[in-house]
Chain length 235, copies 2
């Protein structure tokens, strides 16, 4: 019997790799993207295009206006996206400074929606591209957070009460960006189609300056892979 | 210093009572309602009207289309709302049958949104009208579920990492409907303004037949209170 899984797909490098891993593991994958009012809208177009390319059985997008809550550079136009690499160095230092690109409770909301979708589909598996290495400043990317969410989910649903065990798979949580890129490359992921930039333009071209761009470029470099990212022309 | 709290307010009897309790406990209350495509739309109007009447400092509504996931009589027009009391008797019997009015992961999604709002406001308290007595068939109304959500939330946020302790208050979780009504009555809640019915009409008038109407009416009766509910005219 084919096992069904819900895969959270943002359209970036990490989640595209996770979808490829879930497919290789033999799951029938149903991808879910969250339109939370993010500035980088072309990420959502990338998710919709990547889903069938990577062999998913269905794709759905849930619209939720998190700008109502504000509080992050990714949703609040009044907060600038940092382009000086400060958040990266802070997250690798001894002080755990949380970047302004952190969106309040975003991963909890995304996993909750994935849980609803999983229950509706009769799926017992959720794949989630959390990564604790490059983004150690994000509390909801840590293994202890994922374990706590899984424990909660197994008390939350009709399926759980009836005896099913829900598993949150985080296959890249301890991998470096270079290891993720190498893994996805080996699985045939076309990274030119992914959008990681926090301020990509409408065509999905990356700024090359934000934390996400810096980490991604350094990842390809460290993996010895050509960087297929389409960048905006510099003025 | 005034303590801020986020109060999940559906517009029904339970959550209105919880808001009155949070106010009596001295919290500055910020109410949050979820428009999840429920059939009973007038519940949302009731929430918006009740919030200032019960002394909340702000009210916000988040729109999220859960009908995408289907699977419940409350969101899926193809599933009938039961009016024969079957779900009530099932939930009080030895078999834990989960009613068709259960919405997949709904409480997890609502608490996640409350968590995002709490973090944005700098609030460490969330009030939630879960009740394990009348709805023992709903897995996400049980104390063990609430405890698991709280444990997860305390690993999820920037505030938690920085040392704040988030508390999920469930002040009516072990109360009967009669006890809830008596408590709210003593706190001055005008229950005529609340809408509990799963299929209320546009004016907020109740059907009198669904599980929610049956439980509510029996609660007023057991509490020795007049039932202030406005009912639809029977044809």
């Amino acid at each position: 019997m084919t096992r069904r899984a819900v895969v959270l797909l943002s359209g970036g490098l990490d989640s595209a790799t996770v979808l490829a891993i879930a497919r290789q593991d033999g799951y029938e994958c149903h991808t879910l993207s969250l339109d939370y009012g993010q500035r980088h809208r072309s990420e959502l177009d990338a998710a919709a295009a990547l889903s069938p390319l990577l062999g998913a059985a269905s794709h759905s997008m849930v619209k939720l206006d998190l700008t109502l809550f504000g509080g992050s550079a990714l949703t609040d136009a009044a907060i600038a996206v940092p382009t000086d690499g400060a958040a990266i160095s802070a997250s690798h230092g001894t002080e755990h400074v949380i970047p302004v690109t952190y969106v309040p409770a975003r991963n909890t909301i995304m996993l909750s929606l994935a849980l609803a979708k999983a229950e509706t589909l009769g799926a017992n598996d959720i794949f989630f591209g959390a990564n604790a290495v490059d983004y150690s400043g994000y509390p909801d990317c840590r293994p202890e957070y994922v374990a706590a969410f899984e424990a909660m989910a197994n008390r939350a649903t009709k399926a759980a009460v009836e005896g099913a065990k829900l598993t949150i798979h985080v296959p890249i949580i301890t991998l470096s960006k270079a290891q993720i890129a190498a893994r996805g490359h080996a699985l045939g992921v076309d990274y030119e189609r992914t959008v990681s930039c926090y301020q990509a333009d409408a065509q999905g071209r990356a700024c090359g300056l934000c934390d996400s761009c810096r980490l991604r470029r350094a990842g390809f470099e460290a993996a010895g892979l050509a960087d297929p990212t389409r960048y905006q022309a510099r003025t």
